[in-house]
Amino acid sequence: MFSQNGLSLDQAPPISVVFRFFLSGSLFGLLAGVLTLLFGTDIFNADTNHALILTHTLTLGVMLSFMFAALFQMLPVIAGVRLTSPTKKANLVQYPFILGVLSLLFAFYSGKSLFFIGASLLLGGSILGIAFVMLKNLAALQNHSNSSRGMSIALTSLVIVTLLALYMTGTLSGLLAGEHYEQVKTAHYSFGLFGWIALLIISISFQVIEMFYVTPPYPVFISKSLPQRLFGLLLLGTTGSFFFEKTWQVIDLFIIVFMLCYAMMTLRRLSQRKRPIADATVWFWRLGMSLLILSMAATLDTRFYKVASLQAINYIFFAGFALSIVFAMFYKIVPFLTWFHLNAQGYFTAPMMHEVVHPKTAMKHLYIHLATLAAFLVSVYFAPAIYLAGSLLILSFGWMLWQIVHAWKLYVHTQKTGERFEMTMPEAEG
């Protein structure tokens, strides 16, 4: 992808590195759909194991897989970071990560110590290992952009989320006494939702909104300091909560304001595009930002009204926000990578980007995604709708899986049968 910082073709990760994480993310998405069908509306009650299992299927299995793919792809592009042996690193992360997620889901289901210990070792090792490698490379950069600085902070948050999670699994497995379990639990999901997921999206958006959609850049007061301020608030909330019970209530208010500012500014920037036609990825961004605004409004409301349905709606809004942005990035990255890698290899018959994923195909996914969100919202008040929501979730990730398989088949087919072009000067005759 284009970058002012510079991307050498040698630096671009192999296409299989990015696709394999998309593939595992989609498979976990299918699992999330199946679990929704099995667990029903239990998933809306945060105190149940079913809610824990589904939450971690989505945040770890789906979101983290897609975010690993984005990081492997975006670190060289946005930050100019070169990860050596990307395929080897991807293998070392992905297999223990998948086993770790499954082990954690079994641990939540069965409560057995062995699964908690297995999950701790596998997830702790894989996530901390790759986060350390990425952070080390980012720290070596001489010139940071707002995006690369934000990505460093998001990765630091991921390390904190993981360490806090290890404390919790240690407690649940009986290895630790867990005196501070409740404080750690709040810090874990706060860092996970805002320090990791939201902050990574924010950091990447500083570059991609302007670059992909030809908009004016974000105002400096947002792009320069929002990640640092958000991270500072999360640290303050975590440490403060050990001394003052109501610390998060104050911190959350600031986080809500920051998130609202960011989401509204992103919507404003998207409205300033020069091209009048909006493709599916623009609508995914618009939807994501609108859901973030609604989620923050719901978070504010839950401070005053302890209504279970409002809490459930908030989960749907926030998950909808994060997934919408994942889908937006997916439909930009998959066609581009397929086309670009084939062109870089010199294939004259490389499919055009719209042949890899047709714009109408992405638009259909947008409608499926909207229908999924609507079905989940309806199911908060009308429980049988949860079966429709689960089925649509399966369709949504099945749709995505098909795009990956289709792109990969096109890629391999072109490599096998494609004609290579040669742009170099022909040898002089005679």
Binding site: M1, F2, L9, M211, V214, G346, E422, M425
Partner: protein, 86 residues
Amino acid sequence: MPRTDKIFLDARELEHPIPLERAIAAIRELEEKNYFYMIHRKNPIPLIELAKEQGLGVFSREEENGTWHILIARDTSLDLEALCNV
């Protein structure tokens, strides 16, 4: 001096990745007597790397307002710097 034809692309208001797609299509069609001239809001490093790897002549320069001028030719003896309008 032999006449050279310019294949021009103003990509400043084109959304990513259309500039790269059009630029690669254009440089595939390059002949010895012509050259590709692109104006863009970013320095398209992938395009430049790809053109260099293919043995093409490449020249790029940034204007004070941040606009990039990128020139690519099949004939490497062509003085692209002289053809750049900056």
